[in-house]
Amino acid sequence: MAHDHDHPHNKPLSDTELRVKALESILLEKELIDAEAIDLVVETYETKIGPRNGARVVAKAWTDADYKSRLLENATDAIAELGFSGVQGEDMLVVENTDDVHNIVVCTLCSCYPWPTLGLPPVWYKAAPYRAKVVKDPRGVLDEFGVALPEDTEIRVWDSNAELRYLVLPKRPDGTDDMSEEQLADIVTRDSMIGTGLVSAP
């Protein structure tokens, strides 16, 4: 055979890919969207909006007590102070992890997620195993993420089934007293703001 390399040229599209293409074609044909608008939405969430936004919110809350109280009181407005607002962040709530309480966020019905602060959700967040298990066995899920908490830590699972979107304010790790707000933002991980991770000192 002249054509003896191993990558498939005409691999059939998956059901999801076909469905997306069909939806896109219909929306374009009916002139409900234009192709440049789709490209811009994709580019915006690929390059401009992501978990670094949420990390800035967390770092500011860790270093500015007044900001932290505003954030816990009215998260939507406090987050907007830093310029993060819009689609899927219209009505925000921030829940704080402490020595005694650990919060975890899920959307059991689909994949609701705070886009302006965290970007688009990771695949596991949208997948049935996480959504089904975390409301029933959160410690088991945390274990899968490599997080072990003391037995006496209260666990609060937040199901964002309606219109509120949730961001976890993780615990500031010990040994970070000398770090600046910018340095702190660098150590805040996406998972720590969902509640499936903890922040560690560098």
């Binding site: 608008a37 811009l40 939405v41 819009g86 219209e90 209260e154 199901d159 219109e163 509120l164």
Partner: protein
């Protein structure tokens, strides 16, 4: 319906579209109220997951007035009503052998709940 063009995208992304409704609707419940989630089984769109149906919880926070997706998703009007953060123990949801320091918080519309004794 207007076409979604490139020019509209940045404004749309930045402002979004809250389902919050600026209307003075009386809440059916207050903070601290004991509630029971109605055991209803809608065959159309709902934000009421099966695992809390028939379960008893406590109203922890009133989020304000929002459009009700169970009707608005079907063009049957916004049916504005209060949404609350309702707290359930894992023991209530999953059984008495669960630890007593595990809780589930979920956002419930007025129409999903009744007062519990």
């Amino acid at each position: 319906m207007p076409t979604l063009t490139k020019e509209i995208v940045p404004g749309l992304v930045a402002t979004g579209a809250s389902c919050r409704i600026d209307e003075d609707v009386a809440p059916n419940f207050g903070i601290g109220d004991a509630v029971e989630i109605r055991n209803i089984n809608p065959v159309t769109h709902t934000r009421l997951p099966r695992y809390v149906r028939g379960k008893k919880g406590t109203v922890e926070r009133d989020h304000g007035v929002f459009a009700f997706p169970d009707t608005s998703a079907h063009g049957k009007g916004e049916t504005p009503q209060h949404v609350y953060s309702v707290k359930f123990s894992f023991q209530e949801l999953w059984g008495e052998d669960y630890a007593d320091n595990m809780f589930l918080y979920i956002d419930m519309f007025d129409d999903y709940m009744r007062a519990s004794s």
